[in-house]
């Protein structure tokens, strides 16, 4: 008769009853299908408690790391607190600690907040009750100060768009010490890999934000395998954090840095001219065993995902963070 806490409600599972059946019996609406651990409709996430191994069978690395469980296969032995997956959750307050232009279009915004996250996940930032946008985390959740406060640093790369309500506000009005609210983190595009696995990290535009986070996360966790980081852009002026990336590549012999620019006026040092898809194909022709992280516009992610899959990468090994424009 295991006790389960779900969304402020407490229920007791009958003998042999799965978590899904218990939640349904108690009147909660939980999507479900096969009740056999195959269709993955019934996913929930653990909030507190031990995850029974059987409930994670068939889940990918990211889902496992996030504590997801197939509720139809979940028979907890001890009390467990669970929640729905992919819910934004409560609003957390954040304070602006830094705001800096990285090139003529991109602002690096650093906040501090009591929020734990995995680099590469995303957070929704609220200007006020009516305006919010989601941005990916480029930082590692390091403590902002030496005192015992549990604030973490959060770094975002904000592309400033001409008619962008949120980005224009960030550019023109938001200042250091201002407060804003955020929700999250969400997203499954974060570093989970074998230490010697080859990685391909590919980004265009501010897709570099989560990729930068994932790169640093991988290195921070001691990733040994080769890491190919490919950054694409239309023109050289769209690139940013170039020196920082070069420094990382110099300090880590397993990191290969590639800048691929569509229209390059003159071959400029380590910038290459070309098409990012062709470039990835020639740099990584056989992708069997690779872990792939793709971040940027929808069309880019879809095209490169297909290419990497056909080159041998497992579908479950390709993680993506898609940037969709606000409607």
């Amino acid at each position: 008769m295991t006790q389960v806490v779900f969304e402020d409600a407490t229920l007791k599972l009958d003998e042999g009853e799965s978590l899904l059946d218990g939640l349904l019996r108690s009147g909660h609406e939980i999507a479900h299908g096969c009740k056999a651990g195959v269709c993955h409709s019934c996913l929930v996430a653990v909030d507190e408690g031990t995850v029974p191994a059987a409930s994670q069978k068939g889940l990918n690395d990211a889902q496992t790391a996030l504590g997801y469980m197939l509720s139809c296969q979940c028979h907890p032995e001890d009390e467990i607190k669970v929640k729905r997956v992919d819910t934004a959750g409560q609003l957390t307050q954040a304070e602006v600690i830094e705001k800096e232009w990285l090139n003529d279009q991109v602002i690096r915004l650093r906040l501090k907040a009591k929020l734990d996250y995995k680099p590469g996940q995303y957070v929704t930032l609220w200007k006020d009750a009516s305006l919010a946008r989601s941005y990916s985390l480029a930082s590692l959740p390091n403590k902002t100060s030496e005192d015992c406060s549990d604030d973490n640093e959060l770094e975002f790369h904000i592309k400033v768009i001409e008619d962008g309500q949120f980005s224009q506000w960030v550019a023109k009005e938001l200042s250091v010490s201002d407060n804003l609210f955020l929700q999250g983190p969400l997203g499954k595009c974060f570093y989970v890999a074998q230490t010697d696995q080859p990685l391909l990290l590919a980004a265009i535009g501010t897709g570099l934000a989560p990729i930068y986070g994932i790169l640093n996360d991988a290195l921070n966790q001691g990733h040994q395998g080769p890491i190919d980081l490919v950054v694409g852009a239309k023109q050289a002026s769209n690139l940013y954090l170039v020196d920082e990336l070069k420094t990382i590549a110099e300090q880590h012999s397993n990191v290969q840095l590639h800048f691929v620019v569509q229209s390059l006026e003159a071959e400029a040092g380590d910038l290459q001219q070309g098409d990012i898809y062709e470039y990835c194909k020639s740099t990584c022709p056989d992708m069997k065993g690779f872990k792939v992280y793709l971040c940027g516009a929808d069309s880019f992610v879809k095209k490169l995902r297909k290419q990497c899959f056909l080159s041998g990468a497992g579908m479950g090994d390709i993680a993506a963070d898609v940037f969709l424009p606000a409607s």
């Binding site: 269709c39 899959f309 579908m315």
Partner: protein
């Protein structure tokens, strides 16, 4: 024991689905049906299909199979192409021939539904 359990259950499906998906994308007879924009959704469908074909747990009724494929106007050529790619996948995974035969048998059992065969068209 079902053939699904005999060949290794979900692990077998996971090993097969990427191989099968790449094969159908490369097969001109049927690639148009599988070459969709949402690869992750297509991948999930293929995983469900293979689970069913391997005799594993599934929710498909004959009616579901019929409804899902009706609008595609499929013919024997299409069905055979999928079956061939399925067999090639299993051979690549070195599944014993007797299990391959069992799996083909399961696939054949839904043929009329997939091709929307009715008493008039049979």
């Amino acid at each position: 024991m079902s053939v699904f359990e005999k060949i290794g259950g979900e692990a077998a499906v996971n090993a097969a689905v990427d191989i099968f998906y790449r094969k159908v994308l490369a097969d001109d007879r049927i690639s148009e049906f599988f070459d969709t924009v949402d690869m992750e959704a297509q991948h999930a469908k293929q995983k469900a299909f293979l689970t069913m074909a391997f005799g594993g747990p599934n929710n498909y009724s004959g009616k579901d199979m019929r409804e899902a494929h009706k609008h595609m106007n499929l013919t024997e050529v299409h069905f055979n192409a999928v079956a061939e790619n399925l067999v090639d996948t299993l051979k690549e995974l070195q599944v014993p021939q007797e299990y391959i035969d069992e799996i083909v048998g399961i696939a054949l059992s839904v043929k009329d539904d997939v091709l929307n065969v009715t008493p008039e068209t049979a």
